[in-house]
């Protein structure tokens, strides 16, 4: 059983390597990034919808996967309506539409991550582990989340103020704020995955935690690329975006597989009389 989940976990790594290889062999044109983003985020959308479909509508996890699907679907719709060279987020479209869009994407992403953490506690489970372990987890979040996310957020916010609001920097700032919140949820997601260690549910939660972690690195690389005008950093950000999207795809497929396996779980061996 774990072999099958291991293969699912290899998907994001293989996908990110493929994007990196494409960047090295074909150049770094906008068309390439448009295509890789469209493919990876479309796959993530389909995966999340497939995971949601494995549950009934009244199930708690149905809502979590549906929200996750929305957070990937909206950027796909954005790309399909603008093409590789346009971006209506910084165009002449009404500001309320642009702000509504970026808020919807981030609310869906944060809401989804919150539901995955909430599911653990709703199930009546509790995080265990020593105080030292909890303190180390907290320190890791503080160092990576605040050390990487807050400077990126401040830079985007400052650039947005200079540009007068509806600029790429403004949308980056909103996006980074959402990703910082998502990253704060990475620690509990990883702790939940660790608590499920040895069980099939460690895969969806672990891969989701990896996906959320990747978004923060994506933000830092994308902002760094914009500020420094670095093509190399831009390439890194695109590879990380593929890793984040495909990790969500793998998490979704893993959860779908868990549900399928549990439907045909054999009876456990009998107990003493």
């Amino acid at each position: 059983m774990s072999m099958r989940y291991g293969w699912l976990a290899a998907i994001p790594v293989a996908g990110a390597l493929a994007v990196a290889a494409l960047a090295l062999t074909t150049g770094r044109e906008p068309e390439l990034w448009f295509a890789t983003q469209l493919v990876t985020q479309s796959l993530a959308t389909v995966g999340c919808l497939a995971a949601a479909a494995a549950f009934e509508r009244r199930d708690f996890m149905f809502r979590a996967w549906l929200l996750s699907a929305v957070s990937f679907l909206l950027p796909v719709v954005n790309k399909l309506t603008t093409g590789p060279h346009g971006d209506w987020l910084v165009g002449p479209e009404p500001a309320w539409l642009q702000v509504g869009y970026i808020l919807a994407v981030n609310v869906a992403a944060v809401g989804s991550a919150l539901l995955f953490v909430a599911a653990f506690f709703r199930a009546g489970l509790a995080l265990t582990g020593s105080r030292v372990q909890g303190a180390l987890d907290g320190a890791a979040v503080f160092v990576v989340g605040l050390g990487l996310g807050i400077p990126t957020l401040l830079r985007d916010a400052a650039d947005a103020l200079v540009a007068g609001g509806a600029s790429q920097a403004f949308f980056d700032a909103v996006s980074v704020a959402g990703d910082v919140i998502c990253f704060v949820l990475v620690a509990p997601l990883f702790r939940i995955a660790r608590q499920f260690r040895g069980g099939a549910l460690q895969w969806p939660w672990g891969l989701l935690a990896a996906s959320n972690l990747c978004w923060l690195f994506y933000d830092a690389a994308a902002t760094g690329a914009r500020v420094a005008g670095s093509d190399a950093l831009h390439s890194v950000s695109e590879v990380v975006l593929a890793l984040a999207s495909l990790s969500a795809l793998s998490a979704a497929l893993a959860h779908r597989q868990v549900v399928a396996d549990s439907r045909r779980a054999p009876a456990p061996s009998r107990s003493e009389p």
């Binding site: 059983m1 494995a54 549950f55 009934e56 009244r58 199930d59 708690f60 996890m61 149905f62 599911a119 709703r122 199930a123 009546g124 489970l125 265990t128 608590q195 499920f196 260690r197 040895g198 069980g199 099939a200 549910l201 460690q202 868990v258 549900v259 549990s262 439907r263 045909r264 779980a265 054999p266 009876a267 456990p268 061996s269 009998r270 107990s271 003493e272 009389p273």
Partner: protein
């Protein structure tokens, strides 16, 4: 322990497939104490329905309603 595994062990083994062995043992210990006031190795046949009922919300949340009922039915059968 005469013969086979205790009822607590059977439940923990079945849950371990989904939530891992450590958490499965902790869940059986916590729920049998909270719901029955017993240790896992003290669970008797008459206690099984109440204990499985207490596990239903957890399984429904993590696996969904249909799979949860299947897992519980298989457990009920094994513990009969």
């Amino acid at each position: 322990m005469p013969g086979g595994k205790s009822r607590g062990d059977v439940i923990a083994t079945a849950l371990a497939r989904w939530i891992g062995p450590d958490t499965a043992r902790a869940v059986v210990r916590t729920f049998s104490d909270r719901v029955l006031g017993l240790r896992p190795d003290e669970i008797g046949p008459a206690d099984v329905p109440r204990l499985l009922e207490s596990l239903r919300p957890m399984l429904r949340t993590l696996l969904g309603q249909g799979p949860a009922e299947h897992v519980l039915a298989e457990l009920e059968e094994a513990l009969r």
